[in-house]
Symmetry: C2
Subunit: 526 residues, 2 copies
Amino acid sequence: MGEEGVCHCEKVATLIIKSQTIPIYSKKYVRSCYLLPAKNGEEVTMQFLLEVVEILTSYVRKTFDRSTKVLDFHHPHQLLEGIEGFNLELSEHPESLEQILVDCRDTLKYGVRTGHPRFFNQLSTGLDIVGLAGEWLTSTANTNMFTYEIAPVFVLMEQLTLRKMREFIGWPNGEGDGIFSPGGAISNMYSVMVARYKFFPEVKTKGMAAAPRLVLFTSEHSHYSIKKASAALGFGTENLILLSTDEKGRVIPADLEAKVIMAKQKGYVPLFVNATAGTTVYGAFDPINEIADICEKYNIWLHVDGAWGGGLLMSRKHKHKLDGIHRANSVTWNPHKMMGVPLQCSAIMVRERGLLQGCNSMCAGYLFQPDKQYDVTYDTGDKAIQCGRHVDIFKFWLMWKAKGTVGFEQHIDKCLDLSAYLYSKIKNREGFEMVFSGEPQHTNVCFWYIPPSLRGMPDGTERRERLHKVAPKIKALMMESGTTMVGYQPQGDKVNFFRMVISNPAATQSDIDFLIDEIERLGHEL
Amino acid sequence: MGEEGVCHCEKVATLIIKSQTIPIYSKKYVRSCYLLPAKNGEEVTMQFLLEVVEILTSYVRKTFDRSTKVLDFHHPHQLLEGIEGFNLELSEHPESLEQILVDCRDTLKYGVRTGHPRFFNQLSTGLDIVGLAGEWLTSTANTNMFTYEIAPVFVLMEQLTLRKMREFIGWPNGEGDGIFSPGGAISNMYSVMVARYKFFPEVKTKGMAAAPRLVLFTSEHSHYSIKKASAALGFGTENLILLSTDEKGRVIPADLEAKVIMAKQKGYVPLFVNATAGTTVYGAFDPINEIADICEKYNIWLHVDGAWGGGLLMSRKHKHKLDGIHRANSVTWNPHKMMGVPLQCSAIMVRERGLLQGCNSMCAGYLFQPDKQYDVTYDTGDKAIQCGRHVDIFKFWLMWKAKGTVGFEQHIDKCLDLSAYLYSKIKNREGFEMVFSGEPQHTNVCFWYIPPSLRGMPDGTERRERLHKVAPKIKALMMESGTTMVGYQPQGDKVNFFRMVISNPAATQSDIDFLIDEIERLGHEL
């Protein structure tokens, strides 16, 4: 739209074509209505997209440059007030494409560089270039996974990749079923739904009233999505029984068996056990084989939440930590965590074919016509609780092509080596105290930093209270200086401690050294 | 990795930098391990990304070119066997970046151009250039919505955009709550969960056993996600009561009231009514005000599923079709449908603040620390049933900035005008028969094409059986010739008919004319 609300698209587009570039004086009048599909919109479109790419590649370059900050922190109210003209408010009238490019730059400027070599804040870190290219292509293709009809290549890629993942789980010939979902929480939710459908299929039509009182089991260290699923699906969080763990955060199998027996004595029906392969905070691997023995004995569904630890299946050196996973009835595995695939990329896999379909199918006539010209068993949408489903497979498939299985293995081994390095550096270092003893199982390294002012103090309420405040303070200083990011939290009776995790392919030993120094620098005076 | 499994990254990267381009002879040896964060990886990375962008922009250009096919159809077995060297199988060893680029080209080649001006197959069509740029930026930022800490800008954009959307709904000052979810089905699932939490909060902890027998109501024409939600959440599909509709597919309010009374007489508790604003097949708008009267009278939660029709709120001309939506307790609205935002982009909005949080919060200590340095009410993750959550807001926010409210309005009005044009062209045309009479409410135009061989035939089983096969046959021919795509399905006692929908900003009257001609051309001999 022109200044007076009149659209000059064609006139300006013609000018642009003639001059090959957008004359500066008119640039501020060029708005999105000049872009394709507008008539003569091709040049403006190409120029606009290339300018966007210039912004993005410059961001990518800086992300890997250690002299760049991880973030440029501002409080919510500061961003809302508008910093240096960055206005988040939406308005009635269009902005120029020039302004849109400024908005893109500002959005990146005030964000967090999750691919920075010193970003350790989340289980998902890093910026894989091939994965990024895969996401750019995915958004350009802009299609939907529900039918082969409109996503033929992606549907087949999903099928082949899931089979490959099931081979790593150890199911014969990679048989079984599965689907990519919008994240580990939804994948875990699927597992509970499918377990219920397997044992009490009538719940689908008659509701939970048709089943006896069902109970679920999971570690007290497990991810909160199991609890969310028990609330959402109508079990109730009180019917999720938490299992005790050993000092390293692993489920104690005897505790599971005792609690199963107790539940049965009360007349409840144990339905589902979740074993975690790589807990969120400690990175603990529950002993799957021993848990599977109990599940088989009492005929309980065994799910393995390998959202975080599943990737270790690709490492010949570390896959033993998931021994017994082939005995699971279902498995969650998020390539967007340990394997460095861009967000979102999570798979739920089910050993028995047909259950996902049986559990979720509603046979919508407008999507799943049986009279199509192709083999409609490739229409996977009716297995999902979603209707439309984002294409999460392509970036992962492309990364697998580009790295090969060996490339993922190298990445995983390297991350675990780095965390062993961190552990070895701090386990006996003055001012550091490990949260649990012994080498970590995954890349999670949990520790307290004890400032000099607390070092001589005897254990007790005062020390605990003061120590509880140390990690948040250091974290706040860290964010404000923008040099690195690492998470902290309390767990059980343990006051706030740092949880270091490494999934970032850009991280090196020097970044680990930097983190230690930075914690000491920021925390020394506390 | 080099030929013998040895990595030559540094050597080759140095060569590349020296020569400024990758020498052809060595290109096939350049693999993903040369990309950033590899040492000296910057040049290879930039070159690789620019080559990807070249592939993508060339695809974008062709997408809007009517001489390009919408798709190049192949059967699953053909693609699985590998066409012209396009190998979908994953392997142990890495491929060269050269091959990765070929894989990208092939993936697009055998896919479906959902942005093509003649792609009408789904409710989500089109390729918005600003939205595309937004998605490219989103994947480059590669972050997660759960906390302000790692997505400060995106979290604020979500908040401001949701408020704006609630203003269009008509809630005073845009007050209320909401969240973006991975699609309309999940948004609708949220609405049922929140309704249950509002009236029976104890279900969260105690499960469905703590509630009386709850029943839900929705149109027989409504989206199947309501049924999926009733199965998943433990209500049971039999406790979802289907409402009768008039000839145009709109719920008959008297039928709702009669069924509510009947349910109460049986001792059931009516919990939730879904009114659809834009049904999937007919595009019908349920009479929200009359339904709201009944919901208020019987104290039932009113949800409006505006996944498809919500966009009409932005059109001064068409928003009256959603009159009464401000009386809803919750609303689903998918900008990725009628508003042309790239997939995925769906919002669930709730009138009463605090319910989403109350319903879903589990207070995971490792994410939602209360002792952060910023205002943690901006950490929205605990409202969600997800943990990690993809950034779906940015592309939408950027499009809104670029188009302004007026731009969305123009787009919506144009699509509705086009569908009125289609309706006017075929309503009295020989060989076409409308599925329901009168002008469509949304852009859905439902019709049968009657081939000459059936035109004289009296209505009856034979005609019905033969007519049922016409749409699938034309669709198969259409896909094989690759010229256009439109959906078909049966509905109730109506045999297969075409459902034309227009949300594609690239479509013009000439494309509508083309579609009509193409159906006649392909169907004439049937």
